[in-house]
Chain length 375, copies 2
């Protein structure tokens, strides 16, 4: 190596491959010269941000603007108060993240290092193995069962080096979810000294009370951390905000590896209001639910297999190479997500958009099916 200092790079870092975000709408549209293009690639809320958060932004624009030179509240006092009240948890159980990605890293950096292992599921969120590897620890991929986490296998894979298990419910990109009963059983059978990170970024979209895993589960299982995001139902992906709830002793440590000003002032202020905007959340869930129904019906009619989803997206078997199928939709003006990197070589993921966006997607899907059957 020409630059000798690069030989000092940590082994785990050498093996990291950057996460690939969805294609940006504007740039892609220009490049392809398309008149119309929609992005259903990043599981964003198609209704936009919480209107209450926007009202606050408009109303307090002057004071926000004049305060941009001031550091954010590093302790996120008011946001924690709001979370505390809404979910009946103590503020000292809460850790604020610059998106929930930040929280995945805190847990990894607290418990993982060279010589340690963490378990995640096949077809699980791509950030888990990245965060694990970056610490030097070994990511152990547990084979999926019916596209979802095989919780029994995850326990079987635990050895004395294993320190953390990552679970997502609903899981991105498959949309699979676990019931409270399943998670409870899993926790009961898990050695007490293994930390469980339960990622609930898509929590608000879950329909079916048996899938509602409440923060109070932490009271019985102090080794459980539950994270939530403001990037999905709350519609604040641009501002980066997430939080997790844990045993207070643990949150004390998570907050020590947290950068003192990790969350920006706008995220803290708008997040607080978005949290209480139940109307927007309900509306978002409703739009999602009807969009999901339409898409599932279309998949059935056009004979595409899909994976039952509890999130704001759904993955389906495109009957040919994911990247080829992705390209077809792209050229017709729909940005989807190819799931090849998720070991789903024929699957595409589509985020549920507005009614108009779904009209457009379903039209292209029909064309796709026709072209496919001609082959």
């Amino acid at each position: 190596m020409k630059n000798s200092f690069l030989e000092n790079l940590n082994q785990g870092v050498l093996g990291l491959k950057p996460y690939e975000p969805g294609l940006p709408l504007e740039h892609t549209q220009k490049k392809l010269g398309l008149e119309k293009m929609i992005k259903l690639a990043s599981n964003e809320n198609p209704l936009g941000p919480s209107p209450k958060a926007l009202d606050l932004l408009q109303g307090k624009m002057n004071s926000f603007s004049s305060e941009l030179n001031r550091y954010p509240d590093g302790n996120a006092y008011e946001l924690k108060e709001a979370i505390s009240k809404k979910y009946c948890v103590d503020p000292n159980q809460i850790t604020i993240g610059n998106g929930s990605n930040d929280l995945i890293e805190f847990v990894s950096r607290c418990f993982l290092r060279e010589g340690k292992k963490a378990i995640y599921s096949q077809h699980g969120f791509a950030i888990y193995p990245l965060a694990i590897k970056a610490t030097g620890a070994l990511p152990v991929k547990s084979k999926a069962k019916n596209w979802g986490h095989d919780l029994e296998l995850m326990i079987d894979l635990i050895d004395e080096k294993t320190k953390v298990v990552f679970i997502a419910s609903p899981n991105n990109p498959t949309g699979t979810a676990k019931t409270l009963l399943e998670i409870n059983d899993f926790l009961d059978n898990l050695p007490d000294d293994i930390l469980v990170f339960l990622d609930q970024a898509y929590y608000e979209y879950i329909e079916g009370s048996e899938f509602d895993i409440p923060f109070s589960l932490i009271d019985d299982h102090p080794n459980l951390v539950i994270s939530r995001s403001f990037s999905k139902a709350h519609g604040l992906a641009a501002l980066r905000l997430g939080f997790c709830v844990s045993n207070p002793e643990l949150s004390d440590y998570l907050n020590r590896v947290r950068q003192p000003f990790n969350a920006n002032s706008l995220a803290l202020n708008l997040g607080k209001v978005a949290l209480s905007d139940q109307e927007h959340i309900s509306k978002s869930v409703k739009i999602n639910s009807s969009g999901m129904d339409r898409v599932k019906k279309a998949f059935t009619n056009l004979d595409f297999n899909y994976i039952e989803s509890w999130g704001n997206f759904i993955s389906f078997d495109a009957k040919q190479d994911s990247d080829v199928a992705f390209q077809y939709f792209l050229e017709k003006g729909v940005i989807l997500r190819s799931l090849k990197v998720y070991e789903m070589p024929q699957h595409l993921r589509v985020s549920i958009g507005t009614e108009e966006e779904m009209d457009f997607f379903l039209q292209v899907l029909e064309d796709y099916e026709k072209d496919l059957s001609k082959k």
Copy 2:
């Protein structure tokens, strides 16, 4: 320990103490019931954010607002282009941080782990030892010389376990700076495989061309990383934005440990404009310069020793315990920073504010001196 999983915490994390931010203005004022209070504790730009950035925010408010549900551009394409043009560096040399704190962590996580060491200076920025410890590596504190970094000693302290050296110029909280000649000598005498992180958060405030350390120095020293911040002269501390320039091979790795959406959309958009707002930067530097002159004269007249500063703050010997002195100023309505945690048991740091803020501070300083001499 009751919670057995806490026994798995990494050793470095156990030793972390949280960074203590400056007291918040509003909350502190309420608590003390003071009619007037000013905060000169966090080296923020007293003129506020770049007006050009604010104009953009006002002008594009509607499009920013409606896009809050969309993820930021993870590759920060436009901001990198702007930095590239302004500083004649290649976009692939740039890494964007959620504040420059983020960049300090990237370097630490790339090169440090248990069994490794990193060197920083006594009276250096508190984040360095925190970031080092969090990786499990050993922070080695190099004794300061005339309150500044002793670069020769820092080289002497290097052993085969040392992988990174942190240098700040100007350094917070002492305000000391290094000349290009000094840094060049240091790099020439340093083993090639040691990475140097040169923190220039206060770069814009430096007066004296001999202290101007340009990014082009990286061409001769590929083991050099130079970071800059938008939290100081650009006045965007609330939004969290920084960047570093390095050898492209290294920035490739730094970007791998970076969270894909670490910088939020508003920071990316406003940062791009603030960067080009030379008028605001010049004005900020001018205000700083005249405020600094006034404060230094007052220190001389009232017989307080101070440390010559190249930043937007200055530290002085309060002639008694820092915390006691801090409390005096606090109760009179001026939030300063006690430097006890920086092994400066009698020093206080004051950020240079507006003319009015300096009037107020200097009045309280006079009172303080009078009360002190009565003792």
